[in-house]
């Protein structure tokens, strides 16, 4: 391109056809790149997962005699029974997702030493939140149901 042509371009023709085409082309390429990155992200985000259902049956209250503190591994909840009061408390540590150990005195996480009292309140270690309680209910067939989709306030026992 000659000097003269350049000068002309700058003065009388501030936006040349060439510039517009170059701009559109680069925008098109960059746009396609963004779209393809985005669609790749959409692709690798699974639409269905294969994990546990949030709502499940845990058997009849008779399976849990008073004084029970038992962990259900697959469902990752602890079923607690004191007299006629029952509760389902998460055993997934609120810190980094380890499974806490259930004992008479509370819960303890082996990974980073978080400790919780019998009701799941933090008594030590780095856990930022208490262990959540899940809703317990009685199904018509006499079996207890836990709904991990519904948290209840700590201390809200279910009476059987």
């Amino acid at each position: 391109m000659s000097e003269k042509h350049n000068a002309q371009e700058e003065s009388s023709e501030p936006i040349s056809r060439r510039k517009v085409l170059a701009w559109l082309t680069s925008m098109g390429i960059m746009g396609s790149a963004v779209v393809s990155v985005f669609s790749n992200l959409v692709f690798i985000k699974p639409r269905a997962t294969y994990g546990q259902p949030t709502r499940f049956s845990i058997g009849t209250p008779d399976d849990y005699p008073p004084g029970t503190r038992i962990a259900l591994g697959d469902q990752k909840v602890a079923i607690i029974r004191e007299g006629s009061k029952m509760a389902a408390i998460s055993i997934t540590c609120t810190h980094l997702g380890c499974i806490v150990g259930v004992s008479e005195t509370g819960f303890a996480c082996p990974c980073h030493g978080s400790r919780f009292d019998q009701d799941g309140n933090v008594t030590g270690g780095p856990a930022p939140k208490p262990l959540p309680w899940y809703e317990l209910s009685m199904a018509p067939n006499g079996e207890l149901e836990v709904d991990k989709g519904k948290e209840v306030t700590a201390g809200k026992w279910f009476t059987v």
């Binding site: 992200l41 690798i44 985000k45 699974p46 997962t49 294969y50 994990g51 962990a71 591994g73 697959d74 990752k76 810190h95 980094l96 997702g97 380890c98 499974i99 150990g101 303890a108 996480c109 082996p110 990974c111 980073h112 030493g113 400790r115 270690g125 780095p126 930022p128």
Partner: protein, 437 residues
């Protein structure tokens, strides 16, 4: 040959030599020209410069740490591909396949040992290489961006190791990844999304195993190879390894001339007087470039031919690396714990050793230990060459001019190592402080 034209016997008898010379193009070199041509004409050698500075070959300057990292990576690729022949990324089969390596695959245990110990070794070697580059001030202009690539390579090494950690699908693997990905979940805004994308589920399971496998054997190695290539290419483009300015000065008593010294040194030398400086030297492909000055021709300087000097040094490091890996693999077996039991984390559940410093920090605060402080550390590491822009003390270990920078970096190194030692040896059941003695 010219005397016996079209003789089938002479064609056959000269065939090996003809094939040899068509493959290698020239004979083993006995002249400087031959040494240059050997480096030029060989695909595997032409990554090297024809000539290399004497200072580059000093064993205690680099300690061969970059080469060790490369060779460990090559060992990992070879052993990794071999292990792939017997591995299935399925929660039902993965652990059994680990046991099969022990029981029914020839050299199975040995290959797994080599892969595991090389992986640990590579993390250590890459980190030590980074320390070498820092303490010798080698990240300074014009090598700033190669330092940045190096930091990314270090992070990739960690991520490769981390993704490989899950594959045996034993207790060690499962809980280390559970903890590691939960840390990612603490990142603000995108944390939970990132964790979900990485695991393909809300918990570590089949989807996570498959994803980690694909990342470990396909995605990350390819990225790694590309970045390694750029890393090496830039070494050449940045004028070889860093070296102190005085390393370019040929003893005046012996030669009487100074060749291709960088501008400041040259100015100083001229000001000092008595040293004859040849300024006008041509650029040449063979020349070892530093700054605007290149040198070429049969003049005395401080470089030697890469063939055989550099190649022998590399061979030495290669043999040492392979020997080390073989010895360690012969005497120590890679750990394999029980099969995954999602209800019982081992007590204490520990991440791979190089993440135990992180885990130690995480036990004080999940966000700051797991995300905040590491993010700041990585950011500062990446930006180091743009903060520290002085040009003094390059190419010397612990140069006096770099006392502050070196002290800060040494502190960073020592703090991280101390945290790792605490996490490894001083943490027992429930992550409580125990004495290893």
């Amino acid at each position: 040959m010219s005397e016996k034209k079209n003789n089938i016997f002479s064609t056959l008898s000269s065939m090996p030599a003809a094939i040899w010379s068509s493959v290698f193009r020239n004979n083993l070199p006995y002249t400087d020209l031959g040494r240059s041509k050997t480096s030029f004409n060989n695909f595997f050698l032409h990554i090297h410069p024809v000539k290399v500075h004497r200072h580059t070959l000093k064993p205690w300057f680099t300690m061969g740490l970059g080469l060790i990292s490369l060779f460990l990576f090559l060992i990992l690729v070879v052993t990794g591909v071999l292990l792939m022949f017997y591995y299935v990324p399925s929660t039902a089969q993965a652990y059994d396949r680990m046991l099969d390596l022990r029981g029914s695959v020839a050299f199975g245990v040995f290959l797994r040992n080599m892969h595991r110990w090389s992986a640990h070794g590579m993390v250590a070697a890459v980190f030590l290489h980074m320390c070498r580059v820092f303490f010798t001030g080698s990240y300074k202009k014009p090598r700033e961006f190669n330092w940045v690539i190096g930091v990314i390579l270090f992070l990739l090494t960690l991520f490769l190791s981390f993704t490989g950690y899950l594959l045996p699908w034993d207790q060690l693997a499962f809980w280390a990844i559970t903890v590691g990905t939960a840390i990612a979940g603490y990142a603000p805004v995108v944390g939970e999304q990132m964790r979900f994308l990485l695991l393909g589920d809300t918990t570590v399971g089949q989807e996570a195993l498959l994803r980690f496998y694909v990342l470990h054997v396909a995605v990350l190695p390819v990225v790694m190879v590309v970045l390694i290539a750029i890393h090496f290419w830039r070494i050449r483009k940045d004028g070889g390894l860093s070296r102190p300015e005085e390393a370019d000065i040929v003893e005046p008593a012996a030669v009487g001339t100074v060749l291709a010294t960088p501008a400041p040194a040259m100015a100083m030398a001229t000001a000092a007087g008595g040293i004859n400086v040849i300024e006008k030297k041509n650029y040449g492909i063979q020349g070892l470039v530093r700054g605007p000055f290149a040198k070429v021709g049969n003049v005395p300087d401080n470089s030697v031919f890469s063939y055989p000097n550099l190649l022998l040094a590399e061979l030495f490091v290669f043999i040492l690396t392979v020997l080390g890996v073989l010895l360690v693999s012969a005497f120590f077996n890679a750990p394999l714990e029980e099969a995954v039991n999602v209800l019982h984390p081992p007590n204490p559940a520990k991440a791979p050793w190089y993440f135990l410093g992180l885990q130690e920090m995480v036990s004080y605060s999940a966000f700051w230990g797991g995300v905040g402080i590491p993010a700041i550390e990585v950011l500062v590491l990446l930006l180091v060459p743009y903060f520290d822009r002085g040009q003094k003390g390059v190419g010397k270990w612990f140069a006096k001019e770099r006392l502050l920078a070196n002290t800060l970096f040494l502190t960073f190194v020592v703090v991280n190592i101390v945290l790792i030692i605490i996490g490894t040896f001083f943490r027992g059941q429930n992550w409580e402080f125990v004495s290893p003695f």
